[in-house]
């Protein structure tokens, strides 16, 4: 009798879980699907029937977004900023992580803590000093300034992530390399770096998505529309000339999401593992 009751309770719990997940999924998917549908409509169609499917799907909006909404230039800018940032991060982060995990040197603890402290600072706290720094260096409204800011901002996370990897490499491997006569640099280049490549790739993907989607730094540090990256360029469609052009705006949003969606489709497993690694350390 009791087990019967327990069974019913278990099923009820599963049902409640399924309903909750369904509601969350709808909340997540609804705006996306609305954007997708809207991107293929005309403005007139949108106002007549906001929820309906496009009667005559058109690519007009995408062309408009790229041609007149500066989305093409913004995509190129975003690619330059994202790829350059992750390139620099991918070179510096593994080195810093290796050194602070595997080499004994003076003030190692202090250096490590300083590197990682950056992880816990809110971006708003550094905006003003960073802006002043970039201004003094003549890098405001340049892609280079934005790239350097992203590198600095994302390094703590990348180092922390890479450290978890280097710590997991058995110390005997390093001992063995030392006995083989390798210097610290050759040890890094010949042994550690090849082993770290898959982890570096994971970090690079996560960093790419983060840099690509970053709005705040680009919004504060960039001024000229020709330098705009995708997230701030989308503002073009909410104010001014295209302020009411919801269909073009939807097309632009979809375009902006393409690289991250492609990246996710290609590396879903790696990203999923990386996120689990961040949460659980393994």
């Amino acid at each position: 009798m009791l087990s019967q009751k327990a069974k019913i309770m278990k099923r009820l719990k599963l049902l409640a879980l399924a309903i909750t997940l369904l509601i969350i999924s709808i909340i997540m998917i609804y705006p996306l699907s609305w954007t997708l549908i809207t991107a293929f409509k005309t403005n007139r169609e949108l106002f007549l029937d906001p929820w309906g499917l496009p009667s005559n799907p058109t690519f007009e909006n995408f062309i408009k977004a790229v041609d007149r909404g500066n989305m093409g230039q913004a995509m190129i800018n975003s690619l330059i900023v994202s790829l350059s940032s992750i390139f620099i991060i991918s070179i510096i982060a593994p080195m810093a992580a290796y050194a602070t995990s595997r080499i004994d040197f003076k003030f190692k603890g202090a250096v490590t803590n300083l590197l990682i402290a950056g992880f816990f600072i809110a971006p708003h706290a550094v905006l003003v000093p960073l802006l002043i720094l970039l201004r003094d260096m003549g890098l405001v409204d340049t892609l280079l300034g934005l790239i350097l800011s992203h590198v600095g901002w994302h390094l703590p996370f990348a180092i922390l992530f890479m450290k978890a990897f280097f710590v997991s490499i058995p110390s005997s491997l390093q001992d063995s390399a030392r006995v083989d006569g390798l210097s610290y640099y050759s040890m890094y280049r010949k042994i550690m770096l090849p082993l770290a490549l898959p982890t570096i790739l994971t970090v690079a993907i996560i960093m790419f998505i983060s840099v690509w989607n970053n709005f705040l730094f680009a919004f504060i540090f960039l001024r000229s529309p020709s330098n705009f990256t995708v997230p701030i360029n989308l503002l073009n469609f909410t104010t001014g000339r295209y302020g009411n052009d919801y269909v073009a705006q939807s097309a632009a949003v979809l375009i902006s999401a393409i690289p991250t969606i492609v990246l996710y489709l290609l590396f879903a497993e790696r990203i999923r593992k990386g996120v689990a690694f961040m949460a659980f350390g393994r």
Partner: protein
């Protein structure tokens, strides 16, 4: 060919003393085994010799020259690690060749040496594979090959067989011994496995709590252990040890445990009398030095059997006398079982007498 010497070597990790005042001389071409339980400092001692750790105090000498400040590569040592530490992304050939490349050896010479070593170890067919594609035994050979190919002055081995299964371990034990006989390179080998130590060593240094307890040939360590720890650590089943007092009864000298007495023959009496009379001691005797009988014989002690363990070629009989458990060795044909009565006699010539306080060997 190198002689390795440690003089009053200490190593602290913070407050912990891992190696405590170790003096050790490993002769040219010798196979020295550092034996001890985990955490006894044997691996740290090996790492000190390798140059992977720096001693807190003391001197490490190779052929009489201090090497304390030398990096591992400059000591010309080769080390085999417990987990083999093969570079997972490199082929076996590159694993073996790396140290030679670092030394700037010509490619042809590297190739010749690697092939020669691979031939010696029977791993020539594995050269193009990566470590992940090899079995444990094959990885072990590659690790060994990587050490041999460098023609080092000293081999350092840190429990290299402990990750293998029992059968392979026994085989590799023999092969390592053969290899040493052939290469005659000074070898320092760390293990917690006393069988490995007994089989392979020219000499054994038994360690405990960072200190060396005894250094000697396997036979010396087994038959004349310097203290209770060595006596119990070496030998399986371990030596029987129990508290006793040596007393005189008229003319006869006896060792009494409270549960039973052991008569000392006149030939040994004087030697024992001088050193241990009325002192609290511990008596040690190995299972094979206790004779077992199913029937009463002169001088045998009657006792109840607690446990019989037949391992095929031998039986180990555990007797319970009062609260003392005594293990004796018997032929596999021994028929009695638990709760039965049987008789045993200790061979007095094979008794070891330890001081109860210091646990050092007296006789």
């Amino acid at each position: 060919m190198t002689q390795v010497q440690l003089e009053k070597v200490c190593k602290y990790f913070g407050e912990t003393k891992a190696v405590d005042n170790v003096d050790l001389l490993v002769n040219d071409g010798e196979f020295m085994v550092l034996l001890g339980p985990s955490g006894c400092g044997k691996t740290t001692t090996l790492r000190l010799i390798a140059g992977l750790e720096k001693p807190t105090s003391g001197l490490i000498l190779f052929d009489g020259e201090p090497v304390n400040e030398l990096e591992p590569k400059d000591r010309r040592v080769a080390m085999v690690f417990q987990d083999y530490a093969l570079y997972p992304h490199m082929k076996v050939f590159d694993n073996m060749a790396l140290s030679l490349q670092v030394r700037g050896m010509p490619r042809e010479e590297i190739r010749r040496r690697v092939l020669e070593t691979a031939e010696l170890l029977g791993i020539k067919h594995l050269l193009e594979r990566k470590p992940g594609q090899l079995s444990g035994g094959e990885q072990q050979r590659v690790a060994l090959g990587r050490a041999i190919v460098r023609e080092p002055s000293v081999f350092l081995m840190d429990e290299p067989l402990s990750n293998l299964d029992a059968a392979l371990r026994a085989r590799m034990r023999g092969e390592l011994k053969k290899l040493h006989e052939r290469l005659k390179t000074t070898t320092i080998y760390v293990t917690h496995d006393q069988v490995e130590a007994m089989v392979m060593a020219s000499r054994i240094a038994v360690m405990r709590n960072g200190r060396i307890q005894q250094i000697g040939s396997p036979q010396e360590i087994y038959s004349r252990p310097a203290n209770r720890f060595v006596a119990e650590f070496v030998g399986s089943p371990k030596m029987n040890i129990f508290d006793a007092v040596v007393v005189t009864d008229d003319k006869n000298l006896k060792i009494t445990t409270g549960a039973f007495d052991i008569d000392i023959p006149a030939s040994m009496a004087q030697r024992i009398l001088d050193r241990v009379l009325d002192r609290e001691v511990m008596i040690g005797i190995r299972p094979e030095d206790i004779e077992v009988s199913t029937t009463y014989k002169e001088g045998y002690i009657e006792a109840e059997i607690y446990l019989v363990e037949n391992i095929g070629n031998l039986s180990f009989i555990t007797f319970e006398v009062d609260d003392v458990l005594i293990v004796a060795q018997a032929p596999p044909s021994f028929e009695l079982g638990a709760k039965d009565k049987a008789y045993f006699r200790m061979s007095t010539a094979k008794l070891h007498i330890f001081d109860k306080k210091t646990e050092e060997l007296i006789i």
